[in-house]
Structure formats: structure tokens, C-alpha cells
């Protein structure tokens, strides 16, 4: 109809409320001055409403948009990515308020608002974000309801109530759609956002790196073990990175290790090097829900023997991904914690790589290693001697003394206190110096079980570094020199291996000592996990599994059928509830019974005039069907008794008569025409 229809006050008020609600979560990325713009626009709008100011002219509007665009350019830089796009949308959403003259403008603004409200999920993904997003949708829908209300009713809250009811009723079908509508995967590649810095293990290790991580309580990943087959604590080494290159200060992957083309992306491939893995014993299967790392490597128990399709495997039996993990991702792995790898021998290039040492560093260690190697009868004896050395003289602490240029020399022979990375680094250096191939492995050690839900969480504070040594005939063997110093680090986690002052250093959740708060925290954590696993992590794989379980297949016709029937059921259910609510209300039981009688009469072709009493109806119908007249007269008498004499005992009889009432079909002979 008329597009220039007035915008009601309630609609405008709701629009402003919705704007506040929608803009709020965008504050994390949008420039703060956008709020100032918003306030200014609201002020202007208020002046328009009062009639004090007019609407801005076209020139002014274009000017404002240009200024705002320039501002956004300054805030975001020239790179046009998703965040900048959202910023532009926000600016449009705010400025549209000044153009709002009629109903159509209002609708455009609301529709734009729906879009902007949805983009907040690009930045916030938690369950609270979901809840908040629902609030945004309710506020926008309330605006829409207010826009469609008549101008006669300009009350504020009814539209909110109506919007909540509508959205609540929409939820069941939404769930079906969410579960059943096929996920197609990205239609085109979108520029990913690399602004967000993520905590976690980086692809190099310098002294103090992991020590810094140990102070973070942030979640690294969660694990659910299939069928409860949880490996013992000493096997919970989550391998992530392997460092084979040492420059004297920093451990890094070698160039070969970093080259993705050397990885194997075909799970079923029979590459030569993969045959060198010889799994022993029984496998353990588990799924990992990895927090975003911004990196391409994944964490798994050694040695992975089966994994998800999209993943690849590197030369050191570590899982890889082509794209950095920018969002929480889930993957399924099967590992054989007991295995032999490359037991037959190393290739020359590999042997060289694992024996590499920088020149001019740690001369004392080099000399001592050569000496000990000569004295030892075997590689194992050498290793045992070094571990005994650690055990005898070393202390585990998060606050080691600072080390000089020759970090390994200083650590091994002077300070003799440190953290896992010091132990791993010195151990590998010593082995290499002694002519034994060795490398540093970085990942996480341990996992804490959530008592509420059946999963294990691994936090940043569980970050760990250890060593792998290649022994003739046995292949790569894991040695954790830290365990020699602080065996409880392996058994009981970080806390148990530290002194009390060290423990205080660790970041702990607020009020961790209070049991209730801790329990709540655990519950919240558990809920978070479920949310991520089932809501955010619901992907094509889970979907096809779900469809298989519930629909018996994921063919399109099954999905279409399911969605259609869900929609039809919803519509039908709502319709029935409406008709039920609008059903005739009988104030008196007798009237209800009589209505039954009348329905039956109607079906048989007899009707009562409104002014006709049951008794006179009986009399009239008795003229064409005496038997019907007699039955009806009896019912009419009962009706009178119940209705007018308040005779309760007659009600039962009336009820019986009404249900047993079988009127004869009205014959259409001419004799009955006067009816």
C-alpha cells in the first residue's frame, strides 16, 4: 500500500533499542568513534521527531557517508577484508536512521539490521554470543512487529512479547533445518582474518617460550576418547611439532620439515616412509576439538595410524592441515601408542639432519659428550648416565636463572635448574654431540578430565617439550629428561611438580580454591565444550552421520521430505492450537452436550433454528419422524432439568443420551419440505 506511511513511535523506539543491542558486540573490532556517530545520529533523529530539524539533504548524506568511509579507512587500513566490510555495514545501518521517512525506509533498516546482527557471529562464537544474538533477533523482530502494528496502538512491550512468541515458535523448525539442510562448504574462498593473535605453541622454541605458556590457563584442545579407552598418564604426550634444527639459541623445524610437499595428504597412500611405521599393540581412538591456533599443525598421540580425510601426515608422523586453524576444529584420530618407527635405519639426509649442531656453541658440552660416549658401552648406557646426572643435580622451576650465550653449557654444568625446554634442548644437544640422532618434540603433556562431561581438556599450561632419540634396532624412542627431574610432572601435571611459589605464578581461574566456583567453572566448561562440539562443530561429517542415523541416508529427497514434514507439522500444530483456542466455550455442561446432539442432527440433515428450544425442536421433528421426536423429547427434558433446574444427577443421563444419540437420516421426500 502506501509506502510513505508514518513510522510509529514504538517502532522507532524499538529500532533504537535494537541498534544499541546490535552495535554492542561489534565494539570489539569497530572503532569506538562509531558510537559517537550513533549518538549524534540519534540526537538528530530526536530533533527531527520534535520537528526542530529537518532531514539531511542528499549532499549532506553523501558527505557524511564519505567522511565515515574515510574514517573507516583510517581505522581498518586499506585492506578490504571481512572486518572492514562489517564496519561499512555498521556505518550504513547507523546512518540509515537519518533517512528514515516512511515505512519502507524502516523496513530496509530492519532488514539491514538482521544482516548486521548476524555478522556479530563472525567475531563471537561462544554460547553467550548465541544467547546475545537471539536477543538481537528478538529486538529486531519486535521492531518489525511494531512497524506492522496499527498506529492506534503504540505501546512498547506487546511487540516484544509477540516477537518472542514468534521466535520461540520458530525454534523447532529451525533445529530441523539446522540439522538437515545440507552444508555445501564455502562457495568461494573468503579472505581470512589474521588480525587475531592466538596463544599457543609457535613454530620455534627459544628459552622461556614454554615457560610463558605455562602461565596461561587457556584451553588448547579437548579430547574425547572412544569407548573410554584412556591411555595411561605416561602415554599422554600430544605431539605437535618436531624441531630438528638448532642455531645455538633457537630450535626450529628444518627446511625439509617445513616443506608441505613432503607431507603425505592421501590417507591411503603407500609411501615408502610410511611403511617404516610398525604399530604394536592395540590402538586408541579419540576425537580432538582444537582451539584456533593460526597454525597448520595438529596434535595427536604418537603414532597416528588413521585420521580424517582432510588431514595430512608429515615425515615425523605428525598430523598437518593445509590451511591454518583459524576456527575451532574437530578431528578424529586413531593412534598406536606402542610402535616402532624407522627401526631399520635412517636415510643419510635424515641422519645428517638429526645430528646437525651449530659451530662455536657449547664447547664444554661437546667435549663432555664425546668423553662420555667413549666411556659408555652402549647408547643406552650413555643416556642413562645423562639422565642420572639430571636426577642427581637438577631442579625443576619456572623461574630459572638467565643463561648466557652457550645456553646448554650454562644449563648443564652451572645453573642446573630450569624448565622442560631446557631439559629437552640440552638432552638433544648432548645426544647429537655424542653422535646419536635426536630431536626436540614440542606439544602437550597430560590432560585433565572434566568430571561433568566425558572429555579431557588440555590447556596451554600443559605445553611441554621432550626428546626423541634414534636408537639402532629400536627406531625413534621418546625420552623425557624432565621426567628424570620431576617425575610427578608426567604423572600429576604441572602443579604437582612445582614449589608453592612457582605454583602461585601460574595463572589460575578466579577463586579456583572455592569448590562451588570450581564446580560451576567445570560445568560451564563442559557446556562450552558441548556447544563447540555440537553447535559450532556440526559439519558435513557429523551431518551425514546424523542423517544416516535419523533419516536412513543423506539423499536430498530424504532431507526435503524431513524438512517439509517438519514445516507442515509446525504449521498444522499452530493452526490446531489456534482453532482449539477459538473453539466454542460452553459456560454450562448441558449446552456442551446439547451441542453434540445438534452436531449429530446436522450431519443427519436436521437443523435447529436459533430461537427454537430443544423441546420445540423435538416437537417439530417429531412430525416427520415420530421416533426421533420421542428421543429428542427425552433429551430435551433432561436438558431442561440440567440447564434450568440445576439437576446435577440428570447430567450423567444427558451425557449418555447425547453420546448414544443416533438420529435417522433426513429423507428428502417432499413431505418434509416444510422443515
Amino acid at each position: 500500500m502506501a509506502d510513505r506511511e508514518q513510522v510509529s513511535r514504538a517502532a522507532l523506539a524499538w529500532l533504537l533499542a535494537a541498534q544499541v543491542i546490535i552495535l554492542l558486540p561489534h565494539s570489539v573490532h569497530a572503532p569506538l568513534w562509531l558510537w559517537a556517530v550513533w549518538l549524534w545520529v540519534v540526537l538528530w533523529r530526536w530533533q527531527i521527531f520534535r520537528g526542530a530539524w529537518g532531514f539531511p539533504s542528499l549532499v549532506l548524506r553523501v558527505g557524511m557517508m564519505a567522511v565515515l568511509g574515510g574514517g573507516l579507512l583510517l581505522s581498518y587500513g586499506v585492506k578490504f577484508d571481512m572486518t572492514a566490510m562489517v564496519g561499512l555495514l555498521l556505518a550504513g545501518f547507523v546512518l540509515k536512521l537519518l533517512e528514515l521517512k516512511g515505512r519502507r525506509d524502516l523496513l530496509v533498516t530492519i532488514y539491514l539490521g538482521y544482516f548486521v546482527a548476524a555478522t556479530q557471529f563472525l567475531f563471537h562464537l561462544g554460547p553467550l554470543a548465541g544467547l546475545y544474538g537471539s536477543l538481537s533477533l528478538i529486538a529486531l523482530t519486535a521492531t518489525l512487529v511494531a512497524a506492522n502494528q496499527s498506529l492506534l496502538s503504540h505501546r512498547f512491550w506487546p511487540s516484544f512479547r509477540q516477537a518472542s512468541i514468534l521466535l520461540a515458535q520458530a525454534v523447532p523448525l529451525m533445529l530441523v533445518l539446522f540439522l538437515a539442510v545440507p552444508r555445501t562448504g564455502a562457495l568461494w574462498s573468503v579472505p581470512s582474518d589474521e588480525r587475531a593473535a592466538m596463544t599457543g605453541i609457535s613454530n620455534s622454541m627459544s628459552p622461556g617460550d614454554i615457560g610463558a605458556l605455562a602461565q596461561s590457563n587457556a584451553l588448547a584442545f579437548r579430547v574425547t576418547f572412544d569407548e573410554g579407552a584412556v591411555p595411561p598418564p605416561e602415554d599422554r604426550y600430544w605431539r605437535g611439532l618436531v624441531f630438528s634444527y638448532f642455531d645455538g639459541r633457537q630450535w626450529r623445524p628444518s627446511r625439509r620439515q617445513e616443506a608441505p610437499e613432503l607431507a603425505n595428504w592421501d590417507r591411503a597412500s603407500t609411501a615408502q616412509w610410511r611403511k617404516l611405521l610398525d604399530p604394536v599393540g592395540s590402538p586408541v581412538s579419540y576425537s580432538v576439538m582444537l582451539e584456533p591456533t593460526g597454525q597448520r599443525w595438529l596434535f595427536a598421540l604418537p603414532a597416528p595410524t588413521d585420521w580424517d580425510d582432510a588431514l595430512g601426515i608429515g615425515h615425523e608422523m605428525r598430523l598437518l592441515r593445509r590451511e591454518p586453524v583459524q576456527q575451532r576444529m574437530a578431528y578424529q584420530v586413531t593412534s598406536h601408542t606402542d610402535y616402532r618407527f624407522q627401526a631399520g635405519g635412517l636415510a643419510n639426509w635424515e641422519r645428517e639432519q638429526e645430528l646437525q649442531l651449530p659451530q662455536d656453541f657449547n664447547p664444554q658440552t661437546r667435549a663432555r659428550a664425546r668423553q662420555w660416549a667413549q666411556e659408555a658401552g652402549s647408547e643406552q648406557m650413555l643416556i642413562n648416565r645423562l639422565l642420572a646426572h639430571y636426577r642427581a643435580h637438577f631442579r625443576y622451576t619456572l623461574r630459572p636463572q638467565t643463561l648466557g650465550r652457550n645456553t646448554v653449557d650454562d644449563f648443564l654444568w652451572q645453573s642446573q635448574e630450569g624448565f622442560c625446554e631446557h631439559f629437552a634442548s640440552s638432552f638433544v644437544f648432548f645426544m647429537r654431540a655424542a653422535g646419536i640422532p635426536a630431536r626436540v618434540v614440542v606439544g602437550y603433556l597430560g590432560a585433565t578430565q572434566n568430571p561433568v562431561e566425558d572429555y579431557w581438556s588440555v590447556r596451554q599450561r600443559d605445553a611441554h617439550a621432550w626428546a626423541e632419540v634414534w636408537l639402532r634396532g629400536r627406531g625413534w624412542v621418546r625420552f623425557d629428561p624432565t621426567a628424570a627431574v620431576a617425575p610427578e610432572r608426567v604423572e600429576g601435571g604441572l602443579d604437582s611438580s612445582l614449589s608453592s611459589t612457582d605454583a602461585q605464578m601460574l595463572e589460575r581461574g578466579f577463586g579456583a580454591n572455592l569448590a562451588l566456583v570450581q564446580r560451576l567453572q567445570l560445568r560451564w566448561d563442559a557446556f562450552n565444550y558441548q556447544w563447540h562440539r555440537w553447535v559450532l562443530g556440526y559439519d558435513q561429517d557429523q551431518q551425514s552421520q546424523f542423517l544416516e542415523d535419523w533419516l536412513g541416508g543423506d539423499e536430498l529427497w530424504r532431507i526435503a521430505l524431513a524438512v517439509m514434514s517438519a514445516g507442515a507439522m509446525l504449521v498444522l500444530g499452530l493452526l490446531l492450537s489456534i482453532l482449539w483456542r477459538q473453539r466454542p466455550q460452553y459456560a454450562y455442561p448441558a449446552d456442551r452436550q446439547w451441542a453434540r446432539v445438534e452436531r449429530k442432527l446436522k450431519r443427519a440433515g436436521w437443523t435447529r433454528q436459533p430461537g427454537e428450544t430443544p423441546r420445540s425442536l423435538a416437537h417439530r421433528l417429531g412430525r416427520s419422524s415420530p421416533s426421533l421426536g420421542r428421543t429428542l423429547a427425552h433429551i430435551a427434558q433432561l436438558y431442561e432439568l440440567v440447564s434450568y433446574a440445576d439437576n446435577r444427577s440428570a447430567l450423567a443421563e444427558l451425557r449418555a443420551e447425547a453420546s448414544g444419540f443416533r438420529p435417522p437420516k433426513r429423507s428428502l421426500s417432499g413431505a418434509n419440505e416444510y422443515l
Binding site: 459456560a587 454450562y588 449446552d591 451441542a595 436459533p610 430461537g611 428450544t613 434450568y644 433446574a645 440445576d646
Partner: protein, 307 residues
Amino acid sequence: MRDFVQAIVNEISQVLLGKEDKIKLALACLLSDGHLLIEDLPGMGKTTLSHALARVMGLSYQRVQFTSDMLPADIIGVSVFDRDKGRFSFHPGPVFTQLLLADEINRTTPKTQSALLEAMEERQVTVEGETRKLEEPFFVIATQNPLSQMGTFPLPESQLDRFLMRISLGYPSADAEREMLLGGDPRRQLASLTPRLKPAQLPKIKQAAEQVKTSDSLLDYLQRLIHHTRQSPDFPSGLSPRGALALLRVAKTWAFMHGRSYVIAEDLQTLIPSVVGHRIAPSSAGSESHEHTLITELLNAVDVVGA
């Protein structure tokens, strides 16, 4: 009670043939302690009916033929100076009786009419500053010729309200008329009617009738009817609360007369034309058929059974 009512009706039917329905209505009116207006052409038995009612109910009876030159004093009575006693003494008018037949009430002036109507309402008269109670019980049966002729003063609407019911007798059926023609003037048999009731019994009957139950369901129906008269544009004016109360009062008596302890919807339907008709009918003359249609429409339009 039903037998008793039947006995009275049978008794009166001897002099007014084939009019049992109307006799019952008139009886219900009197038993409800209300005044009755009979609207009919001359010679339809109005006088006979009222006279017979008075006899059978054992009431004292007076008949006044209203004329245009009548004065209020002619009905109420007058104080005359009694020379023997040396003071004014009151000569009671015909109103001092138990049943007064006011024949052709529309022939007299509004002044005289209102004197009577006031007496009906107050059940007392005031003459020269002195208030005198009328007899107990006191009924008025007024008759009126529906054809408005020259020199008549039809009762205004506000006055019609004072009559509990209005009936018209109408022509007798062919059979009844035949019987009447054969039997001669029934008026002569009036004297032979036997009283079936004593005036003292009337309060008891009234009391018993008041005990008759009116269920919620029935009151709902009554309210639907009232609502319809007030909301429908067909009705010039809706039924007043007084009219509704009157209907309920007569309905109770009617149910009592039929031996029931509760009022049913049919009672209302039967009584509405007589009780409601003159209260909602438009004032213009010659509208009787219109009024009839209105009542019929009302009864047809309002559902007896609640929804």
C-alpha cells in the same frame, strides 16, 4: 398446583370459550401482582374475562367505563360536606375495590388516566391532602381500543410500562364461536361461576412463586434477549431493567402455575409477547403487526442454547 390452575381456567372457559391461553396469561399477570392491559376491539370478551377473573378469584369487582368528560374524582372519590355531621366525609370512588376494570381507558383525558395510573403504582390515593390506602390486593384490568379514533388519548409509552402485561384476545376459533352461538350469551352464566380462590390465598401463592428457581443458564438466555433488544437497530428502544425484572417475575409465576419449580426458556418465549411487547413497541399507531414482527424476530434471532 397445575390442577388448581386448570380448574380456574376451566371455570372461566365456560364464559370465554376457546381462550384458555389468554386466560392463563391474564391469571399469571394477576398472580404476579400486576396490572393487565387488554387491547382489543369492542365485543371480544374483555369485560367478560375481567369479570370472570374477579368472580373465580373471589375478588370484589368494579367496572368504570371511561369517557372523555371524566374527571380524576370520578375514579378516586370525592370529599363531600356532610351537613348532618358538619364535616367533610369521603365518598370513595370505584378505585376502592379489589379488581377494577377500566374500560376503554384511552377515551378519557391524560389527566384522568394519570390519576388512575398513579393509584395503580402507589396502591394508595391522596385526596385533599389525605392519603388513603387502596384495598389489598388491588388489580386493574384496563382495556383499550387499538384503532385510534377521533378524540382518543392513547396511553403514552411511559404509562404503558405500569402494566405488567398486555394481551389481546382476538377472534375466537370457529369451533368456539359455534359453541358460543349455540349456547347463547355467556355473560349470563357469569353469576353461576364458583370462586376457586380466596383473596387471602394470594400472598401465599405469590410467596411460593418467588421460590421458583431461575438458573444461571436461564438468566444468560434472558440477558442475551435483553442485549439483543438494546443492540439491534431494529428496536427503537431496548428493554429496560424494569421490563426485564417484570418478565422474570411473571415467568416464575408461570412456571409455578405449571407445577414446575424452575423457569425454562419456553416460559420466557411464551410470555415475552405479552410482557415485553408494549414496552419496546414504537409509539406510532397501527404498529401492532410491526411490534409482532419485532418480537418474533427477537425470539428467532437469539439462541436459546448458550454457546
